[in-house]
């Protein structure tokens, strides 16, 4: 991902808009955007492609909450962190606990939860290979941070659905003696490695756990079934771990795929926040696509197929550069676990400590073309980027520096997004696909 700055493209847009005189008030792409302190320009929509439907209800729905809803200080302390409640039981119907602040993440598959929030974490049966318990290094970002801890069997209940027995990860930095409770590496670390920074607590991480409901059924999939050096899964003794392949059935996995009928995917329906940002926002996570009356795709919803194993990406063209499965590792995808639009641009960035966040002097309207893997169908998506005030935990116009194109949570605002699980068919097609 290029680091070098070039003269702001934005300036050209400003000049063009000034040249249009009074008409610029009505011209898409001129000024506008919400949330910038001191901005006196015309207001563009925070959510230009609004299609969100009224809130759904029923046993196949879960609440999504952002910001300070109910005095939330876990997810609510972080920008654009959509969270929900999930119920966990070590065995069917016993010692069950409903856990709040589970990050709704379409960028990963699998469920992970801090041991510290489970009152009976020791009663969950370990997943084993050859009799040895399995530890997982769930890597995020550049791979040097994320979650470490054992895989266990759990009964997971989503909304009013039937509980599904699946492997999940317990987040526990001290597992197999690999890290201290504060995250310092043991000298003989043989799993995530000495340079890895494990999540250590819900307040540090910004979630009690992660509900990964992405395009894949499994966290790693086929890449980890044969390669022992996958660096995700390890068999562990009390103090040492060694890499292991792991069958898909033993991997942590998307619980939606195991539901009896609503197993084709999910829909995230989140309304548009205020232009300047919101302190709280609620939406709905709907289970299943085309399996109930409340998850039947609306007319006009288009599916954009993603590539197959292992990466599940589609195409995005931004400022003349196309990111696709062939431009690895600069990929394009939709990820509710990313708090911003991530892309490379010449926009100016914010002052410390937010030097990776774009802070244009006035809001800018941008667009990019989304296409299914292989190039069709396609659609042009408009979005706005403004300098965040860093006062609100829900912001629809935040952009950050990154490689490829990551359509983060702002993409979801004001738009129903369908996440079609790999190999599962609905009226929108066979997964993996995104639809909106």
């Amino acid at each position: 991902m290029p680091i070098v700055l070039t003269p702001p493209r934005m300036l050209r847009k400003v000049f063009l808009c000034l040249g249009l005189g009074f008409a610029f008030l009505l011209t898409p792409g001129c000024g506008g955007g919400g949330g910038n302190q001191g901005n006196t320009g015309p207001i563009l929509s925070t959510c230009p492609n609004q299609t969100a439907t009224p809130p759904a209800s029923g046993p196949n729905t879960l609440p999504i909450y952002l910001g300070s809803t109910g005095g939330n200080t876990i997810c609510g302390n972080f920008i654009n962190a959509p969270c929900t409640d999930v119920t966990f039981c070590p065995s069917s119907g016993t010692n069950c606990q409903t856990i709040s602040n589970m990050l709704v993440d379409t960028g990963s598959s699998g469920v992970r939860i801090f041991s510290s929030v489970l009152s009976s974490s020791g009663s969950y049966s370990p997943i084993t290979v050859g009799g040895s318990p399995v530890g997982e290094c769930a890597r995020f970002g550049n791979g040097s941070y994320g979650d470490w801890g054992p895989l266990v069997q759990a009964y997971v209940t989503l909304g009013g659905e039937q509980a599904v027995p699946i492997p999940i990860q317990i987040i526990e930095p001290t597992y197999a003696g690999q890290y201290t409770s504060s995250g310092s590496s043991s000298s003989g670390n043989t799993s995530c490695g000495s340079t890895f920074a494990p999540d250590t607590s819900p307040t540090q991480a910004g979630y009690n756990g992660i509900l990964g409901v992405g395009l894949g059924i499994h966290w790693c999939g086929t890449s980890c079934t044969t390669h022992s050096s996958n660096n995700y899964y390890f068999t562990c003794s009390s103090t040492t771990c060694s890499p292991t392949p792991l069958p898909e059935s033993s991997q942590d996995q998307n619980p939606v795929a195991s539901l009896p009928s609503d197993n084709t995917g999910v829909i995230l329906s989140i309304p548009c926040p205020a232009a300047a940002g919101s302190s709280t926002l609620t939406g709905t996570l709907i289970l299943g696509i085309g399996t109930e009356s409340n998850n039947t795709p609306a007319s006009g919803v288009t599916a954009y197929p993603a590539s197959g194993q292992p990466n599940f990406v589609f195409d995005t063209t931004f400022q003349g550069t196309t990111f696709s499965s062939s431009t690895y590792p600069n990929l394009a995808f939709i990820d509710s676990g990313s708090p911003a639009y991530y892309f490379t641009d010449s926009l100016s960035t914010c002052a410390s400590p937010n030097t990776s966040t774009y802070c244009p002097s006035s809001p800018v309207s941008l667009s990019a073309k989304i296409a299914g893997d292989g190039g069709s169908p396609s659609a042009t998506i408009d979005f706005s980027i403004a300098a965040p005030s860093f006062q609100y935990p829900v912001v629809g116009t935040i952009g950050m520096q990154g490689g490829g194109f990551d359509w983060g949570l702002p993409f979801f605002f004001g738009r129903d997004v369908y996440v079609g699980i790999n190999t599962r068919a609905s009226s929108l097609g066979t997964g993996p696909y995104w639809a909106f």
């Binding site: 769930a138 970002g141 950050m400 990551d406």
Partner: protein, 213 residues
Amino acid sequence: MWGSTQERLHWEPAPTGPSRGKKPRNERFAGMGKTVKTTTGTRTQRSRGHLFSPGGLALLIVLSALLAGEALGPDRAWATLGEDEATVSRDRTVSAGTHTLLQAQGGVRIHIITSSSRTYREYVTPGGTVFAVTWQGMPPPHLGRILGAYAAEYREAIVRARTQTTYPAIRSRFLRVTTAHLLIDGGGQPRALSGRVILPDQIPPGFPVDQIR
């Protein structure tokens, strides 16, 4: 991002002074490093981008493709960031993979190590100092060894990036952090990770940063 007061805009020169920590070990490139330093700063870096952004990869010439890793012999392996190219790896087995050596512009050599679960690259100055390490797919399992003397500085930066110091904080899936000696960036989704660790002061003059990938 995320509250570090030590972060600076991308290529602002690193502050000098006794509190900066350890200096890069290889002093042969002190002059080269100074040259880079004096041309840093946002404005100059923009110029650098115009000069070098396009076409750099086209200059790559395959010198020696697809050598088996073991073919280099037991005394020659991948090196350590900031150290000499000939540094012997302390872990032969985890380095196993296909090794390709590319000759890039300006005499830079790129060692590419590809295995089933990752590709990683080590960028070496004409004088033989490793000035960048990158990975795609997975970080190398022995990343701590590859980072050598910079491993602690790297980890400290990662921990800081994951520690909330402001409200509301940003929990990012892309990293872009500058430390006293390192530029760290990368990110993505869990099945397609990528990352770079660069010693900006050691980049040979004229070698485009966007060719480090």
